[in-house]
Amino acid sequence: MAKELWEGNAAIAEAAIRAGLEAFFGYPITPQTEVLEHFSKRLPELGRVFLQAESEVASINMVYGAACAGARVMTSSSSPGVSLMQEGFSYIACSEVPAVVTNIMRGGPGLGNVQPAQGDYFQAVKSAGHGDFHMIVLAPSNVQEAIDLMVLAFDLAEKYRTIVMFVADGSIGQMMEPAEMPPMRPVRPPEERAEWALTGAQGRKPNIITSLYLGAENMERVNIRLQAKLREIEKNEVRWKEYSTEDADLLLVAFGTVGRVCQTVVREAREQGLKVGLLRPITLWPFPGQRIAALAEQVKGILTVEMNAGQMVEDVRLAVEGRCPVRFYGRMGGPIPLPDEILPELEKLNAEVGGEEE
């Protein structure tokens, strides 16, 4: 298919439709409302389910229900709405049903604003809800990657019967870029739903989907199974991209929109004679910590750049384990760090680690 001009939010919705989405349940919130609006038009005309719920709490529980019934389903929201959904994330993770959630992140905390931000990294990666679990977290840095990752999100959710979160900030959601849509996959017919799904116990034993396990040993057994699955995901699904790391003395680590800005920083820094490379995590969980640790053996210092007060940098430091200095630069509540702010930080780091400009 040829490239067309797509707005990020509409592209996310259309990509989900192409991936065989059967139902969407959601609630309006800026800056993701265009996702919901795109679905409200497209899903009914395709004979699929669109429902505007009374709240994000209801949306995620509708998703939970439809996922239990074996349908390919998703919801979408932005930071404050995602906080309301966290109860549901935990139930979905424990019940092991597949579901996809997008968070088009905005400035916080609180009601915050509707500017692009990455303040929900901790929430997505480390504290998605009560109890021990992780979501798979995918972070695109442009519209084409958003499309590709939406399709991947459903495949991963069903492969591991787990919850997949797709995080982008408002700038990716609302920018327009040329991008190519995948072909339309057929929707799975109801009679082909998974054998564990709630489809009516016709000629078989009843299926029960629950997250209640009374008794300490019972609950521990479930936790051990869930953790084993998470280790499997860590083994198979770590994704990242590298730019000019082969000969790098300094490494930038950044995701999403800033990951894209940092590609420019790499180019400009190299024009100045600084040998800078970039690692851009695509899966925030599982985190590409092993690769960062390997690069920490090669480079003299690492600068992590984020649109928050320093969240992913904690995971970078955990991976690096003191092999080299790890510094941080970030903006909070809406401003996007630009190359002319990031370059001086790189120069500072270069001086700190005793590097010279060629």
């Binding site: 529980n61 239990c68 009843p206």
Partner: protein
């Protein structure tokens, strides 16, 4: 359950296929078992067990999925109507019902039940109202009567500070999406027979696609009311029925026609 019936005999009792043959965890004297049985008999009579999906609540009936012999999901507290909405929308040919208590439906899940009812979702809710939080040990519920003593209203419910008991059957009756809402009880045998008829009509309303249906059932909690089972039944008849009058609060013409077999 094929049983050979001799020609000169008539089958007058059998165990519903829609129930599993296990011992429940309910307290002696609890009326949940009666309500379970009524639902199971109705689903058997309608011949829909193999295409029914139930949603259990958080509360004493949290383990209902062990007692019903059909596909079941366990919802978060109060969210059963949202889950039921999700299930029914992607499985419109299934029979879907939620089984909820008063804390679940009338406190933490108020938004979910009102909006599901208002959308006219094609599922059925069985709402068991016993005026108390049973599983957590007898705290004040949204339906606890004025003056009723609970562990969180130790001097009796003070309506000045705790508000009034909510009449859900009346509240939902106002919504255009609702086809059938009734309040019944399981406090004596005639009431149990009437409650079964109401449950059947509610599921028939769903099967006919007429709109949302709910049966509220006045029930007892002798354990947390600190009474014998018989005293609890008498107390409920004396006090609950006054505040929560029995009968239909909403029946559309289409449901009435269905009831009258037209």
């Amino acid at each position: 359950m094929a049983v050979e019936i001799p020609e000169d005999m008539e089958l007058v009792y059998s165990y519903p296929e829609s129930l599993t043959k296990v011992r429940t965890h309910y307290c002696p004297g609890c009326t949940h078992g009666v309500v379970h049985r009524l639902i199971a008999e109705v689903l058997d009579e309608l011949g829909v067990r193999e295409r029914t999906i139930g949603i259990a609540p958080v509360g004493c009936s949290v383990l209902a999925y062990y007692y019903f012999n059909m596909d079941f999901a366990e919802a978060a507290h109060g969210r059963a109507p949202a889950m039921a909405t999700g299930i029914k929308r992607v499985s419109p040919d299934k029979v879907v019902f939620t089984y909820q208590g008063d804390g679940d439906l009338a406190a933490i899940g108020t938004a979910e039940i009102i909006h599901a009812a208002n959308r006219g979702e094609l599922f059925t809710t069985i709402f068991v109202n016993n005026a108390i939080y049973g599983m957590t040990g007898g705290q004040m519920a949204p339906t606890t009567l004025p003056g009723q003593v609970t562990t969180s209203s130790p001097t009796g419910r003070n309506v000045q500070t705790a508000g009034w008991p909510i009449r859900m059957a009346e509240l939902l009756a106002e919504l255009p999406g609702v086809a059938y809402v009734t309040r019944q009880s399981v406090l004596d045998v005639p009431a149990i027979r009437k409650a079964k008829k109401a449950i059947k009509l509610a599921f028939q309303t769903q099967l006919a696609g007429l709109g949302f249906s709910m049966v509220e059932i006045l029930s007892t909690c002798n354990t947390n009311w600190h009474m014998t089972p018989v005293e609890a039944l008498e107390w409920a008849k004396e006090h609950m029925v006054d505040y929560f009058p029995l009968g239909d609060t909403k029946m559309t013409d289409a449901v009435r026609a269905l009831k009258e077999g037209k």
